[in-house]
Each structure stands twice: as C-alpha cells, then as structure tokens.
Amino acid sequence: MTRIDLSTPLSHEVLMLRAGDHVTLSGTVYTARDEAHLRMREEGIPFDPHGAAIYHCGPVIHEGKIIAAGPTTSARMNALSGFLLEQGVRALIGKGGMSRQVADQMKGRAVYLAFTGGCAALAASRMTLRRVFFEDLGMAEAVYEIDLDHLPLVVGIDAAGNDLFEGVNRNAQARFKKRFSLSREAVP
C-alpha cells in the first residue's frame, strides 16, 4: 500500500489526490466541532485559514496533554463548512463523510480526509498540543492548534467531487432494494 505524505500548509498538491488514496498528514491542524464553527463564522477564524487543515474532533485534554483525539461525525458540520473553504482551508478531516453540497464546495479547492473513527489513542500518539482558542466553549468544543506527525488518512472526497462514501451508500441502497424487494416496509 503506497502512502502519499502531505504536510501543512497545504497547497495545489491536494488537487492531485484521488478518492481512495492513502495519505499521511504532518504539520498543523485545528480541531473544530459544531460550536467552534458557529463561533468562527460569527467572530472570524482565529488562525490563518490559508492552506489549513480542520480536524472534526473534540479531544480529551489532561494537564496540557492530548490523551485521546479521534474524529467526530463530520456530517454535523455539513452546513457550517462553506466559509472555511472560501477562506482557503484545503482539508477537512473527520469520519463518516460529508454532504454533496460540501463535496461541491470543495471542488478545485480542497479534500475530505477520513480518519478511522474511534482511533483516539492512535491519533493522540501522533499529536502535540500547541495552543487553544475559544477555551470557554469547553473541552470538547474548543479549537486546539495541534502539531501532527504522519496521521494515516484516506481521501474520502477528492477535489474533483468523487466521493467514496456516496458510492458505498448508493451500492448499499441498491443491495437493500434487491434483497428486500418482495417484503413490505418494516415500519408501516
């Protein structure tokens, strides 16, 4: 399995990635969940968004150290990501994929990178905490600036709009219809 090594700030190299590619990411990432997106949209982004990578994650921090930092469900940020991409963010990292609208917003600009859900210890072992913004939002919702060392990721949505999750879902729909074509709706 070949892996493409990426590091921040990200630039045009993300446009060359294809859905399904294995990559590693090093450099700086910023965690952001629901509340942080709302705050950044209202008050501005507290870091340079150019070439930045956003990680959908609410970590466990203890005495200034990252204890656990797996990805959260990215779909919750579907309606909240446009302004980040418009201001130069090149990668969104999380789990479960994002909507067609986000895939369209990323076209020619950015990629969605999937990190294995629940792999909090693995993630934390590749991370060093730098600083925190919006600490008043609480541990899970604050924005953390984190140094990353070769986090293993899969390109879930590429900058041409190809979406691995969408393909899998379409296939699952078709298989479900075929298997249960003769049965009525389970919930009338």
Binding site: I67, G96, G117, F165, A186
Partner: protein, 278 residues
Amino acid sequence: MIPSPDDALCAALTRATCRALEQAEIFLPPDVVRALEAARDRETSGIARGEIENILSNIRMAESLRVPICQDTGVPVIYLTLPPGIPLSGTLLDAVAEGVRLATRTIPLRPNVVDPLTRKNTGDNTGPGMPAVHVRHGERLTVTALPKGAGAENMSRVAMMLPTDTGNVARFVAETMLIAGGKPCPPVVLGVGIGGTFDGAAAAAKEALLDPIDTMTEYERGLLDAVNDLCIGPMGLGGKTTALAVKVKGAGCHTASLPVAVNVQCWACRRATVEVEW
C-alpha cells in the same frame, strides 16, 4: 466514629464502579478483539483492511499507554447485580454515581453529560438519571460498565411493527444500518430487542450488547448476513464487515404488538464487570 459496614460497602461500590469504567474504557474485551482480527483477515479491499489495522493498532496503543480507546468516553450505563441480603437503596445508587465522578477525574473521561435542553455540562458525567443504572438480582454483588458513545447511540431505532410482520425484522435491522452508513463507526455490534413493551425492547437491545459476540444463534446469524450484505464496510468506506455480530434479546409482548429495537454499538464494544469486595 467507627464506619458502619454500609459505609464500607458504599466505598467499595464506588471503587468498583470506577474500576469497571476504567477497564471498559481502556481494554476492549478479548471476544471483540478476536472478531476484529477475523474481520481484517476476511477483508480483501486495501481500504477496509487499512481501517481495521488502524483500529487494532489503536487498541494496542490504548492498552500500552493506559488511555481511553476512544475520545468519546460515552455516557455511563451501569448494570448492578445485587445478591440476596443487599437491598437496593438510594445510598447504593449515590455510591455508583460517586464512582462515575471518581472515574471522570482519574482516568480521565471527557465530561459528556449535559442538560438536554440548556445543554449545560455538569462537568462530572452525572446528572438527573445519569449514570443510567439498571439493577438485577444475582448471586454476587457486581457492577458492569457499558460506556455508550453518541455516534452509534444516535443511529439506534425503535419500531412498533405489525404483529403479522415477524418475517420483516431483518429488514428493519438492515434498514437501520442503511440509514446509519458510516456514521456509527462500523464494523458495529447490533443489540436487537424483540418484544416486551416500547421501552422494554430498547432496554433489551442495550442489554444484548453485554453478551459475548463469539457465539450467535442461527437467527442472529441471519440478521448479521442481512446487514453485511449491504457492504457498507469499516467506517462506511466499503467492505465485507459492516457488523461484527448481532445479538438478540427477547421478551413476551402483547398479542397486538411487535416492538423491535436496534441499539447500534460502534466497534469499541466496551464492557467490563467488576465484583465488589468489601
């Protein structure tokens, strides 16, 4: 003042609750690890194998660093078994809650419990109705922790099916994963409650998640086959393993009812039981 036996019992229960949570948060049960290893060996796509490899190395990492497997350390679901001679009391439930607070500070756990409407975080993973404590009777005093993360819990469903529709349970179970896709961190374990009442089916579905997953009945295998046929795969990226296992718990129900509940559990099927010694 000399502490009464009750104080000693409560202190022991607090410690045991904390230990059960610690065990559950850091070490995945061996049957679950074996199921993940078997799934990795079965997968043929590089992406699916890669996802399970990450999961397995994460499990090893959590174990060696003594840190929680997942940052969503869940909400505390506790099963308490009381032997004859130990009556259920508010004091016992307080001791369990104290164990949750202790675990939150010492492991540490992410404070996840909030008021449902104001969304204000209590800061210690307790609150009205939290921990969720289920009491059973048994031979020994034991406490079982089942920390439940939100990603998978949010994809769970209950249906009041038609009593003539017993053949359609597989459809409802598969449909639950069809809707869920990659969101609940597959490969999942599905707890399925069939029968009882509206709430009873949901409680049975959650209790089914306490059972070891290395054995399944033929009925459970049939449900598993229907789910895995969707090919949603690890993390929704495609593959053969959408679920590691399906576990069913049944209960008698009204002749005019067929309640069915599916409690979705991510691959981090965390559970641990500790016997209280005092």
